[in-house]
């Protein structure tokens, strides 16, 4: 099996989808000649030309709005928003327009666009380039939300996102781009919207997504050494949310933790915790434990940055306390 990087899997997904569907084009800052700030679109302009890799001025609101219009006019734009931190300037176009158009217009038309972006910590990039803002998206009706953790999923989720009839926000993690995996992309993927159980255990279910899957998997290995066996669920998409998988696993085990890099208060972890409690209350032996980003901005200082979000160590220690 070939070793493939997350970044390259994303690129491959774009290539394969663009070959299949001539209506797909990529639009954003530095996506063409430069090849993307994180190199995902590198080289694509050579195959697909500047018409399908559209370099834009630095005009985020209008870039997203342009994609909305192009999608309504029948094409399938892929916006690259360089950092999810810039979503603030695009939220009118994303949340008031893209997300609501099908509904407001009584179902006349949809907005099949994908907004690819990346978030998270790990590059000491400071408070405005390190955020995990998926909760804004998850809270907005009309938007789909995918957050791949693995190379395989980076490929397949993006492929699937590019067939969705509705707007998809697709958030990559900046710390995963260089990660490689031995991966066979030809294995058929789970259906869009399905979570994957990455590991089975009898003592604790941990529900997570994106980069935290790796922290949690490492934590699970360490925990296994001390006799604690953890089920790890990688959600893959937050909308659709595959609650059936969560329910099934939590009911088996009776103890659950959710791990998210986003800020804790009113974040994704809150939603997951609330829902697990609602749906599995009678099975829960302990309250669902939320492990999430601190309620603070991210510092440029490497140490402060690292400790602002869940670490493997933190997950291990919390699990041990919970099961003590």
């Amino acid at each position: 099996m070939p070793k493939l990087a997350y970044r390259d899997a994303l690129r491959q997904a774009l290539i394969d989808s663009m070959r299949e569907d001539p209506d797909i084009f990529v639009i954003g800052e530095e996506v063409g000649r430069y090849g993307g700030a994180y190199g995902v679109t590198k080289g694509l302009i050579e195959e697909f030309g500047a018409e399908r890799l559209i370099d834009t001025p630095i005009s985020e609101p209008s870039i997203v709005g342009t994609a909305v219009g192009a999608a309504m006019a029948g094409m399938r734009p892929v916006v690259e928003l360089m950092y999810v931190d810039f979503i603030g300037m695009t939220m009118d176009q994303l949340c008031n327009q893209a997300a609501k158009i099908r509904y407001m217009f009584g179902g006349q038309i949809g907005v099949p666009m994908v907004l690819r972006t990346q978030g998270g910590t790990g590059r000491s990039a400071g408070a405005q380039h390190s955020q995990s803002l998926e909760a804004y998206v998850m809270h907005t009706p009309g938007l789909r939300l995918a957050m791949p953790a693995t190379v395989y999923d980076a490929y397949h989720l993006l492929r699937q996102a590019l067939t969705q009839p509705d707007p998809v926000v697709f958030i990559e993690h900046k710390s995963l781009y260089a990660m490689t995996e031995d991966v066979d992309l030809t294995t058929p993927p789970p259906k869009w919207g399905k979570a994957v159980v990455r590991r089975q255990g009898k003592d604790l279910v941990i529900v997570t997504y994106s980069r935290q899957v790796h922290h949690v998997m490492k934590a699970a290995e360490e925990l296994s050494k001390v006799g604690i066996e953890v089920t790890v669920i990688d959600l893959r998409t937050l909308n659709p949310l595959d609650f059936d998988t969560i329910r099934a696993e939590v009911e088996k085990v009776g103890k659950a933790m959710v791990v998210s890099e986003g800020v804790m208060t009113s974040g994704v972890a809150a939603e997951l915790s609330a829902r697990i409690t609602e749906e599995c209350f009678d099975f829960l032996e302990e309250p669902v434990i939320r492990v999430a980003g601190e309620d603070i901005p991210i510092s440029v200082s490497i140490e402060l940055e690292k400790n602002s979000v869940p670490t493997t160590k933190f997950v291990v220690e919390t699990a041990r306390k919970l099961l003590a």
Partner: protein
């Protein structure tokens, strides 16, 4: 609407424009009536009375396949582009028979079959979509243009400059039409900007740009055809149309912030009256015009009956159209709670 030759000489063209303008005027009158009868859903109704020449003039330059977006004051534009007044009125009434099945209302009306990509309740919100639609038109070589209609207030929204810049950079068949009715709510254009020669702000980004007085619809027709043709040929355009917002910002607003003299002066530039006078001068009889007006009156009266008789949207349509057909609908809160409680 078919494209005119833009000549001031043709009386039949003028009669066509007059008819369209009168239809807009009368429709808007009826919207006010619907509101007063308590049958309009939206609390926010923005009438385009005084702006008819902008709607009709620009639409005269449009062709099948062209697309457009409008602002919150877009009834006239949509009607001039060929909308069904019944479905418009019932949408404004929030009824199931409306263009958007009662979900959108006055500020979110749309019709894909006429290229209407949507009215917008966000000032400036519909502007960048035309860049996207124009991009597609160019790519697919359809010959279509895409036109954003907005008010003078939107001239102060940054997204406009981003969009004009992109349209110019990529030589797109996009047109930006500013209906300058002099007011944005209670703010006169010169209270919002020092830069009241609006077309200069587009010129500087590389667009074909003009300002035209909306008093005479034929002037608007000419200017619009020039600008729209330019866009079709690959140079995006901008057209500011000077007119006057005859009434309040919304249906209830009595405009206490402006003087009666100003209003009288503004309303004196009535494009509907002006074209009627022109027609009379050119020999069309008063009787003929009265008959036309009456026919339009009856047509528009019927929209109110249609609306009042129309059904409310069924409650279960609430969860429909958040996502595409075939996708599961969002689960209602009650279902979720019942499931939780059933477990007990």
């Amino acid at each position: 609407m078919t494209k005119t030759n833009g000549s001031k000489k043709s009386n039949s063209d003028l009669l066509g424009h007059y008819t369209e303008m009168r239809r807009v005027r009368t429709f808007e009158d009826r919207v006010g009536e619907l509101y007063l009868r308590g049958a309009s859903a939206g609390s926010m109704l923005h009438l385009s009375i005084g702006e008819e020449s902008a709607a009709v003039g620009v639409c005269s330059a449009m062709r099948d396949g062209d697309t457009f977006t409008t602002h919150h004051r877009g009834h006239g534009i949509f009607l001039a582009r060929g909308a069904d007044p019944n479905r418009m009125m019932s949408e404004i009434g929030g009824k199931a028979t409306g263009y958007c099945r009662g979900k959108g209302g006055s500020m979110h009306i749309a019709d894909m079959s006429l290229g209407h990509l949507g009215a917008n309740a966000i000032v400036g919100g519909g502007i960048p979509a035309v860049v996207g639609a124009a991009l597609v038109a160019k790519r697919r070589k359809t010959g279509a243009v895409s036109i954003a209609f907005f008010g003078d207030g939107a001239m102060q929204q940054g997204v406009l400059y981003e969009s004009m810049n992109m349209a110019a950079l990529w030589d797109l068949p996009a047109v930006f039409v500013c209906i300058n009715n002099q007011w944005g709510m209670g703010t006169r254009i010169d209270q919002a900007t020092k830069s009241t020669k609006l077309h200069e702000r587009a010129q500087v980004f590389g667009l074909n740009a003009e300002t035209v007085d909306g008093h005479d619809v034929l002037d608007v027709v000419e200017a619009a055809n020039r600008i729209v043709d330019g866009a079709r040929a690959g140079t995006p355009g901008f057209l500011a149309i000077d007119c006057y917002r005859f009434y309040g910002h919304g249906r209830k607003d009595k405009s206490p912030y402006r003087s009666e003299e100003e209003e009288a002066e503004g309303r004196a530039k009535d494009p509907v009256k002006f074209s009627r006078k022109m027609l009379e001068k050119n020999g069309v009889s008063e009787e003929e015009l009265d008959a036309l007006d009456a026919k339009i009156g009856a047509e528009m009266d019927a929209t109110i009956d249609f609306t009042i008789k129309s059904e409310e949207p069924a409650l279960n349509t609430m969860f429909r159209d958040v996502f595409a057909p075939g996708q599961p609908e969002p689960e209602p809160v009650i279902t979720r709670i019942d499931r939780v409680l059933a477990k007990e």
